[in-house]
């Protein structure tokens, strides 16, 4: 029993640590994004609050908390109120299965650096990422506004379409690692990361997660210049903040998944595993920001066309070819 209690305590401690780290990271990711975007456009970005604008997230938080929490009269009240929470929660929960370092040895017991090492960790991620749609869809529907509704309808169809190619791009990884457990997938990449072993899968997954993150060039659900702000048009104050933070947590999660599945997780020379992992995740986040600075938004039909007629067949073909090669090698 004491053994179990210690395990539970450790899990809770890891949870708390991750919670704090992720939220801080998300807040500073917002700042980093604003700064990097600004530099790419020959501006400075926020640099007034604190040295180099380092306290900007704090002041944003205060602003969001003290703003009016507006509730439209014709909204579906309880759905409207829980939707932002849903979207932030699904993003946060995903981090439970992501291994961010090699198992530690403390006091003779091994401490795996992952909250719970589910043997279906990959499916857990896919499940939660498909549930992440709900926050957006319900929020947009409950607002009872046409912009919000259009935004969430677009978002629904976009996320469903790109989830398919994302799931299919992961299939070769599972076949190569012979496991659904994320820890084992990382272990299998000790020598060579799957990004080099199977570049098509890597590229398909990369494009799909950019689409999953609902960011430029795939920001159809928000599309400022057509839909005001898309699904969160009617939201204000901290409820909008939750959507916003959820988006950035999602960014970190997707970056970690890319790292775990294709970039070799915590493996890397000289530095400790956790550092390598964070570096890789941050690099992926930088890539996301870079994409945002560089590419224009796709049109809606182009987006659907690309997802269903290009990415999906490619992913299927890739799964087939990888399977055939693996069979051939395995004999």
């Amino acid at each position: 029993m004491t053994e179990q209690l210690i395990m539970l305590g450790l899990i809770l401690a890891k949870l708390g640590l991750i919670f704090i780290v992720i939220l801080t990271l998300a807040a500073y990711l917002v700042l980093a994004e604003r700064k990097i975007l600004a530099r790419m456009q020959l501006r400075y970005g926020p640099n007034r609050v604190g040295p180099f604008g380092m306290l900007q997230p704090l002041s944003d938080l205060i602003k969001l908390l003290t703003k009016e929490d507006f509730l439209p009269a014709a909204a579906d009240k309880w759905l409207f109120l829980i939707a932002p929470g849903l979207s932030a929660l699904t993003a946060l929960l995903t981090f439970a299965v992501i291994p961010f370092g090699p198992p530690l040895e403390i006091f003779g017991r091994t401490l795996p650096l992952v909250v719970i090492d589910l043997n279906i960790g990959l499916l857990y991620f896919l499940g939660l990422s498909s549930l992440a749609v709900y926050g957006m869809a319900l929020g947009g529907w409950a607002s009872n506004s046409k912009y919000a509704l259009l935004g969430s309808i677009r978002g629904l169809s976009q996320l469903i379409s790109y989830e398919l190619s994302m799931g299919l791009a992961v299939v070769p990884v599972v076949m190569m690692a012979r496991s659904f457990s994320l820890t084992e997938i990382v272990m299998a990449q000790a020598e060579i990361p799957y990004a080099l072993l199977n570049p098509p899968a890597f590229l398909i997954f990369l494009i799909s997660i950019v689409a999953e993150s609902k960011r430029i060039p795939f920001d159809m659900p928000e599309a400022e210049n057509e839909l005001v702000a898309g699904f969160h048009t009617e939201y204000s104050g901290m409820r909008f903040g939750l959507f916003f933070v959820g988006e950035y947590i999602n960014l970190i999660i997707l970056g970690s998944m890319l790292t775990v599945l294709f970039l070799g997780g915590w493996h890397g020379p000289w530095l400790p595993g956790v550092v390598w992992f964070s570096l890789k995740v941050l690099a992926v986040c930088f890539f996301f920001i870079w994409v945002r600075a560089s590419l224009p938004r796709l049109r809606y039909d182009q987006l659907m066309h690309f997802g269903w007629k290009v990415l999906l067949p490619l992913a299927l073909l890739n799964a087939l070819v990888t399977g055939a090669i693996l069979l051939w090698i395995g004999q």
């Binding site: 179990q4 539970l8 899990i11 509730l71 009269a73 014709a74 579906d76 009240k77 309880w78 759905l79 109120l81 719970i116 589910l118 043997n119 279906i120 499916l123 857990y124 896919l126 499940g127 498909s130 549930l131 749609v133 709900y134 869809a137 319900l138 529907w141 409950a142 009872n144 509704l149 969430s152 309808i153 629904l156 169809s157 996320l159 469903i160 989830e163 799931g167 012979r178 496991s179 659904f180």
Partner: protein, 175 residues
């Protein structure tokens, strides 16, 4: 412990499904249905089939219900504007809150305390690998039949949804 969990989860499934049937608002019905799928997934997990549990969430809750939502939104079924007062109707909140809370506690207990067995692996536990072998070796024929059905459905959908020919001239137009 496992038996208790089974009954609690079963009750949640039944209650959520009942609420899903009786709701007037289609979107609320979808929420309750998703809730019941969650409870079902946890039941599968409890019975030692994590793969089926994951599929229940990914396919049913994550894809099929999303399609339902999509269609409901497209059909524009008006949600029936409630009395305009600030704040939600607490009676409306109550069932979903209770169900979600019960589900959350069950999930924590399941993953944290591992009630299934002392080392978490009951003898009827089906790892993804065993499951895959069973599916594609013993039941290969059934799988093939089902996948053919899906293929037919897909081809049928393509046929129904194909772009209509604009001109009915024998040359077929010169597009």
């Amino acid at each position: 412990m496992a038996t208790w969990m089974f009954y609690i989860l079963g009750a949640i499934t039944v209650v959520a499904t009942l609420l899903a049937i009786t709701q007037r608002n289609p979107v609320h019905a979808v929420i309750y249905l998703v809730n019941s799928f969650f409870a079902l997934a946890l039941l599968f997990f409890l019975l030692g089939a994590p793969l089926v549990a994951a599929w229940e969430v990914i396919i049913y809750a994550g894809a099929i219900m999303v399609l339902f939502l999509f269609i409901i939104m497209m059909l524009e079924i008006a949600p029936g504007v409630e009395a305009d007062r600030y704040g939600p109707n607490w009676l409306q909140w109550l069932p979903i809150l209770l169900l979600a809370a019960a589900l959350g506690i069950c999930t924590l207990l399941l993953t944290g305390l591992d009630p299934v067995g002392s080392n978490g692996v009951p003898h009827w536990y089906a790892s993804p690998r065993d499951f895959g072998y069973a599916l594609f070796k013993e039941y290969a024929l059934a799988i093939e039949v089902v996948s053919f059905q899906l293929l037919f459905a897909a081809v049928g959908a393509f046929y129904v949804g194909r772009p209509e020919r604009k001109s009915k001239s024998p040359a077929g137009g010169d597009r």
